[in-house]
Amino acid sequence: MSDQLKSLVERPVFVYLTDGRTLVGQLMGYDQATNVILGQTHERIFSPTEPMKSVPIGVYVIRGETIAIIGELDEELDEATDYDNMLVDPLDPIKL
C-alpha cells in the first residue's frame, strides 16, 4: 500500500496542499489514505513582493485528500536556498 512514505518518517518533508499552500515539517506518521501528521510544522508563504515567510504552526494532522505532493526536504540544499530573494507567486491550487 502506501508504504511509499515509510522512508520519509521522522524526516523533514515539504508538503504541497491542493489549495496551493506549502508546509514543511517533520513527518511523524501517515496511513493508507495518505492522512499525515506533521511535527514542528511551518507554513511557507511565498509572495512576489516579499521574502518568503515561514510561520510556525505546530503539530498538523492533514487529511489525505488535501495533499498533492510530499517531498523529502534536503536540509543542506534547503539551507543553501535563498528564500529571501525568491519573489514568486504561491504555488497554484490544484484543479481537477
Binding site: 495518505t34 511565498f46 523529502e72 534536503d74 540544499l77 504555488l91 497554484d92
Partner: protein, 77 residues
C-alpha cells in the same frame, strides 16, 4: 506544474514516487528546489509521460494480442 524524475514506484491509487526530481518550469516554481525525491498523490496526477525509449512496445503489443485471444483468462469476473 510538471515534474520530471526517475520513477521509483507506483501503487494501485496511482500514487507515484520519483527520485532525482526537477520541476519543469523552475523559474516559475522554485518552491521545491530543496526537494530531491517526492511522493505524488495519485488523485492529483493528470498525466504520466514516459520517454519512448523506456517503453517496450513489442512486449506491450504481445500482451495486448494475448489478451485479445483469451479475454476470459484475465477479464471481468
Amino acid at each position: 506544474m510538471a515534474i520530471t524524475g526517475v520513477l521509483v514506484s507506483v501503487d494501485q491509487f496511482l500514487n507515484i514516487k520519483l527520485d532525482n526530481i526537477k520541476v519543469v518550469d523552475e523559474e516559475r516554481y522554485p518552491h521545491m528546489l530543496a526537494v530531491k525525491n517526492c511522493f505524488i498523490r495519485g488523485s492529483v496526477v493528470r498525466y504520466v509521460q514516459l520517454p519512448a525509449q523506456s517503453v517496450d512496445t513489442a512486449l506491450l503489443q504481445d500482451a495486448a494480442r494475448r489478451e485479445r485471444q483469451q479475454p476470459a483468462a484475465s477479464g471481468r469476473r
